[in-house]
């Protein structure tokens, strides 16, 4: 796995190869799609439609009660054959979920690959990642003292620093207020595009899906 440039890992497309997920015999979704590097695929559906299970399947966290078929590829790598920690799925949820027992810097260092050696070098990279989301000088802060928008940006910096092969976004903007929402949304998509990471977004909000600017799949239509 290339740790020295985003190049190797980041520039591969994410392929959802005839993925189908069922719960107790009932089909929740069926998706067959390719997401190019830097592009976004939005999956829309009402809450309870099971759209999050698609992310769980790609990331390797699908609960045992669900039954899934099909493969997920990152270029020529079969992700479904890899244990979750080797898939390098960057996750963003509607809550920032910063690790509360670590400082902001600690959160970033946790994400940074161990192949980056040397304390000073590691700290410098964490600081650079923070600067990139406009939070220069926040390294030693307690995450609990940050505003909602700042937390969301730290979460983004954390996930980008881990050099993910692809991003899985689960309603990541739904808890932000309107003004902030626009801002964070643009930041996330701009970062993904700049680094060439394919993005799978699930949302119930059409505005999110449209702002993403990619293909939109709608599931769970028949739900009451």
């Amino acid at each position: 796995m290339g740790q020295d440039g985003i190049g190797g890992a980041g520039l591969q497309p994410l392929v959802l190869d005839h993925v189908s997920i069922t719960l107790a015999g009932r089909q929740l979704l069926s998706v067959d799609a390719t997401i190019a590097p830097g592009a976004v695929l939005s999956v829309m559906g009402p809450s309870g439609s099971g759209k999050s299970t698609l992310l769980a399947f790609a990331g390797g966290f699908l609960d045992h009660v669900f039954c899934a078929t099909g493969r997920v590829w990152n270029g020529a790598t079969d992700l479904t054959a890899l244990p979750p920690q080797e898939r390098h799925a960057g996750l963003l949820f509607q809550d920032p979920l910063l690790f509360p027992h670590m400082s902001v810097g600690g959160n970033l260092l946790f994400a940074l690959s161990p192949s980056v050696k040397g304390k000073a070098q590691r700290r410098a990279q964490a600081q650079a990642a923070l600067a990139e989301v406009g939070l220069d000088g926040f390294v030693d802060r307690d995450p609990a003292t940050l505003s909602g928008g700042q937390k969301a940006r730290v979460a983004l910096a954390r996930v980008m620093l881990s050099k993910p092969r692809f991003l899985l976004l689960d309603e990541p903007f739904s808890k932000l207020d309107a003004a902030l929402r626009q801002q964070v949304r643009d930041l996330v998509f701009a970062n993904a595009k700049r680094l060439g990471v394919p993005v799978l977004l699930v949302t119930h909000d059409r505005a999110d899906a449209e702002a993403a600017g990619g293909d939109i799949i709608t599931i769970g239509d028949e739900a009451p």
Partner: protein, 559 residues
């Protein structure tokens, strides 16, 4: 490694239980070659039945156990239904909760020091109200009916049942039901009793059964508070087990089987009582009684709850006071002088029991916590919880009278030459510590937001790194509280320490109970105070360590 954790836990919970029960069963029928019993016979039972007052001893054990459980459940039910959600409820809940950490023996002494003829209550009322200028010749503690024992059991079981009930409330729509029953015109107590309590009770049923098992078969509280002529069956059994005449072991084992029977009968009667109460409840509901005149009932349940806390805390303060009292004659309510002489004299003899207590409690608790964490982590990985069957297994050591298998376990260890070893003691303590650690850690563990783990794994962390760097630090507070609970349980263990330690490993608790017979209040004060201080220290450490470690992390402080 993790794969074997559940099996290992089940082995710790069940093997001593099974081996011990078998080890009790054979001698009960006369088979124990080590002391000359080499054929099966009913002679031990014949000898047992010839004991004077045996029936009465068994009956007091049964009656005190059942009555105390009934009172405890009734107080908790009325209190929860009458007060849940009020400020009084929150206050009393916080007052009562620490009582859980008080060892049974210390609570018994606390009660005795309060209500004895020369106790604090009599002193407060004398001579102005009672006219007594010397302690009256009344049998209040150790009364023949076992009322003092019932009171002791109630003050100790109410906090336990209350906490178990509070843990069950989130799964039960108490608050949601309140406006509903009110709008139907019911008083809150009766309304909630009919609408919500049955569901809550179903969830705490195993805990109630554990209370019955303990209350009918306990030795430590019965020695201090129970009747003496004759004592309850469990107390007499332990006497026979420790008799210099080895042949009395056979009678003790036969008696232990009878004790299992007594507890079984108590459980059976309780189940009948459950049916009866349910029938009465639905009859009341069907008749549409509203129970609006509930003030007296509400008031009584609140007072009972407050009294439980006051008596024990007051009694514990009293114990501490006695340990530093100089001359303190009746009916003075305060000693004439304070001195540290009792402490100075006791300290040399306290050192060894204290060291034993700390090492046994420390080892058994740490090992139990490790096993429970391994089981929960395994559950995390497989997604299988083990469900109700696992819960029953965890409760199993709490549902069987300790005497039933401890006698056999002691005899087995003696014949193997392993008795009175630290290892055996730690193992036996784990049988009782493990369930409490498990019960206290499971709920917070399962409530953890697993998206944190998903994120960490997505960031490339291995499962073991996620455990050590994310899950464990974030759950540190819950883990330490479970550790403190386990530590308190171990410190309070009397019978396992006495029997398996064979007198070679005296602890603060066994010494305190042994001193109870002597009646030197100042020395009892020293030991009971230590018995109490140890669990409280453990809980203090459990709350101080995360506060210190995460002093700059607000979110985890609040959690």
């Amino acid at each position: 490694m993790l794969r074997f954790a559940p099996t290992f836990a089940i082995a710790i919970l069940c093997l001593p239980l099974l081996a011990g029960t078998a080890g009790t069963l054979l001698p009960a029928f006369g088979y124990l070659p080590a002391i000359g019993g080499d054929r099966l016979t009913l002679a031990p039972f014949a000898a047992l039945l010839a004991e004077p007052g045996l029936f009465r001893s068994a009956l007091t054990a049964l009656a005190t156990g059942l009555v105390s459980t009934f009172l405890s459940v009734a107080i908790v039910a009325l209190f929860v239904c009458g007060w849940y959600g009020t400020r009084t409820f929150a206050t009393l809940q916080h007052l009562v909760a620490p009582l859980l950490a008080v060892p049974h023996a210390a609570a018994a002494f606390a009660l005795a020091f309060m209500i004895a003829p020369s106790g604090f209550v009599a002193r407060l009322l004398s001579p102005w109200a009672t006219g007594w200028d010397r302690p009256p010749d009344l049998l209040i503690v150790n009364d023949a009916m076992g009322l003092a024992l019932v009171a002791g059991l109630v003050v100790k079981e109410v906090p336990f049942l209350l906490l178990v009930t509070l843990a069950a409330i989130p799964q039960s729509p108490v608050m949601a039901a309140l406006p509903l029953v009110r709008s139907l015109g019911h008083g809150r107590t009766l309304g909630l009793l009919l609408a919500v309590w049955p569901g809550l009770y179903r969830q705490i049923r195993l805990a109630v059964f554990a209370v019955i098992a303990y209350a009918t078969s306990n030795v430590d509280m019965a020695v201090i508070l129970g009747p003496t002529l004759p004592p309850t069956l469990p107390v007499r059994l332990v006497g026979w087990m420790n008799d210099a005449d080895l042949s009395r072991r056979f009678v003790a084992c036969a008696g232990a089987l009878v004790q299992i029977g007594v507890t079984a009968v108590a459980l059976l009667l309780w189940i009948i009582l459950e049916r009866l109460t349910a029938a009465i409840g639905s009859a009341i509901a069907d008749r549409g009684l509203r129970g609006q005149r509930e003030r007296a009932v509400r008031f009584a349940s609140g007072v009972a709850m407050a009294l439980a806390a006051t008596v024990v805390f007051g009694g514990l303060a009293l114990l501490a006071l006695w340990s530093v009292a100089g001359l303190w004659s009746f009916p003075d309510a305060w000693p004439q002088s304070l001195t540290i002489r009792t402490w100075e004299k006791s300290l040399p003899s306290v050192a060894a029991p204290l060291a034993n207590t700390l090492s046994i409690a420390g080892l058994s608790t740490v090992l139990s916590v490790i096993i429970v964490l391994a089981c929960l982590q395994r559950e995390n990985e497989t997604g299988r919880t083990g469900g109700n069957r696992a819960l029953l297994l965890v409760y199993l050591p709490l549902l069987v009278p300790q005497i039933g298998f401890l006698f056999g376990l002691q005899l087995l260890l003696v014949s193997g030459g392993w008795d009175a070893s630290l290892g055996a003691l730690v193992l036996v303590h784990m049988v009782f510590v493990l369930p409490y650690v498990f019960l206290s850690l499971t709920a917070p563990w399962r409530a953890f937001d697993r998206r944190y783990e998903a994120i960490a794994i997505g960031l490339g962390a291995s499962p073991s790194r996620v455990f050590w760097a994310i899950r464990l630090p974030m759950m540190l507070r819950a883990v330490l509280v479970a550790t403190a609970v386990g530590f308190a349980v171990s410190v309070g263990q009397y019978l396992p320490t006495l029997l398996v330690g064979a007198g070679r490993f005296p602890t603060i608790t066994t010494e305190a109970v042994a001193l109870g017979a002597g009646g030197n209040r100042r020395v009892i004060g020293v030991y009971a105070f230590l018995q109490l201080a140890l669990p409280f220290l453990a809980f203090a450490v459990a709350s101080a360590v995360p506060a210190l470690l995460f002093r700059n992390r607000r979110a985890i402080q609040a959690a």
